[in-house]
Symmetry: C2
Subunit: 301 residues, 2 copies
């Protein structure tokens, strides 16, 4: 399974980066191959100063070895070995009318000291962070998410949509990071789902990513915007930074377990503003976004 | 003691903000008075878009009540009551030749259920974060710190200088946030120091703040700078954000105990950049700064 999934994310990284490069038309991805001292490594691909993408990364990694102490206490296990691989992507468009997107799909295995497999699971999802609300874009994104889920279990979409809203939540601001999507974790073998079924599910979701996001980019990329709208995007990007550095488990994990810092922090936006006690005008488009982030919607009813 | 110290920081806030306003000459501090539902409140003063100060805050607060659960486990105590007050300031200058400065002085009391005082202590310090190294500025700042300390105990300056370097450290980047200053905490009654002695020490340090910082601002405020030097400042401000959101205990405490978010996050810089895997040219002034942050210096020998 681990070879199969790693092979899959390698190919998916190629598909996604070549599609995004063709769409952007100006910038290309810069590739960095890195090794992890304790075992494994990764292939980071970063785009900067594109026509569409101001900054973004599509990274894969596959790491293994003794489970670091910080992760032992997190998973409440002892001295075990692990294998983990996944693809993570974040895209920060220049145009504030185009939403930021994040996605991650990962697979984890744990072994005892005799290298017997003792646990394995999939996790991941995708979620959208707009700066201006186009309701049809959120509906489109969620429709693609639902379609992938419904092929496997009708409860998956409502469950994972709710988990996504709960996870990508800036508790200190009492607002969501964006309009959500899917979030699932610890997808393990059960009566209804074998690990092969979960592999099929996760790859179906991952294969749908470009269909979920690209039509939105195409629709909004040529919209004009003002300096004030760009400022609003940069202020909202501050909330993105706050979530990733204060709340995101993946980021904090990476920072505390000596991960590759530049690959982890590729998720941070290129230019960010913090203004003191900034609130959009009541009734404005900016206020409409905040109201939706404070009360997550059901986009598909 | 608590009334005396709160009175002191109120007056100190007035002194510091009026001095900074006179120095800036363009922007004035905006005052926000806030109340804490569970007891107490504060007075935040924020400056933005000044001639010298692009953003800054000089805040005081005095809060009391039942110690929140997150703080109970932090202090390893049970159901106790507390009082805490302090002044916190952060100044982000527009000119990258002028360093950012941070300072905080605070007093804490804990009581049992019968309102008997069971513990009390002072804490605080001040530290400097330059974007370009002027060695004489770091020496000046540390000299003022040392002079305040030496009036009380010759071991204070070396101890608290070392604690400052250790605390304001971006472990995930393996570099200091700045060139340090003083950091002390849990300053409690001992054979050598009564609480009155600690009060005298902390107020001596706090009274020296303007002497430590203002001469540096005056010396550097009219230096010219390029767009590239401003970019470097904004990239380095990213490290400031990383420290405050990932490592700073005060910030995380505030965010997790329902503090006043805008007053806590006033420390975040106005405009910040994150570039992927950015490294200054070997031999440049920018590289010289990084080398010093990676190997904290003794500024006074």
């Amino acid at each position: 399974m681990k070879e199969k999934f790693y092979q899959y994310i390698q190919e998916l990284q190629d598909t996604i980066t070549s599609t995004l490069e063709a769409l952007d038309g100006k910038a290309v991805f810069k590739e960095d191959i890195w090794k992890r001292e304790e075992g494994g490594g990764g292939r980071s691909r970063i785009i900067e100063n594109g026509a569409i993408f101001e900054k973004g990364g599509v990274n894969i990694s596959g790491v293994h070895g003794a489970l670091p102490p910080a992760m032992q206490s997190y998973f409440k296990v002892g001295d075990v070995n692990f294998f983990a691989c996944g693809l993570s992507l974040v895209l920060h468009p220049a145009n504030p009318m185009v939403p930021t997107v994040h996605a991650n799909w990962r697979y984890f295995e744990m072994y005892d000291q005799e290298e017997n497999l003792i646990d394995s699971w999939f996790g991941g999802g995708l979620d959208l962070t707009p700066y201006y609300i186009f309701e049809e874009d959120a509906v489109h994104f969620h429709s693609v998410c639902k379609k992938s889920c419904d092929q496997f279990n009708p409860s998956f979409y409502p469950d994972y949509k709710k988990k996504c809203d709960a996870y990508f939540y800036n508790a200190h601001r009492k607002e969501g990071r964006g309009v959500g999507g899917l979030f699932f974790d610890y997808c393990k073998k059960s009566d209804r789902m074998s690990m092969q079924n979960w592999y099929d599910f996760v790859t179906t979701v991952a294969d749908s990513f470009l269909d979920a996001y690209i039509p939105i980019v195409r629709k909004r990329q040529y919209l004009s915007f003002t300096k004030e709208q760009k400022n609003w995007q940069e202020i909202r990007r501050g909330r993105y930074v706050e979530f990733n550095l204060v709340h995101d488990k993946g980021t904090l994990f990476g920072l505390r377990t000596n991960g590759r810092i530049e690959s982890i922090l590729m998720s941070l936006p290129p230019v960010v503003q913090w203004k003191y006690d900034y609130h959009p005008k009541p009734g404005s488009e900016e206020a409409k976004l905040v109201a939706i982030l404070q009360n997550p919607r059901e986009w598909i009813v």
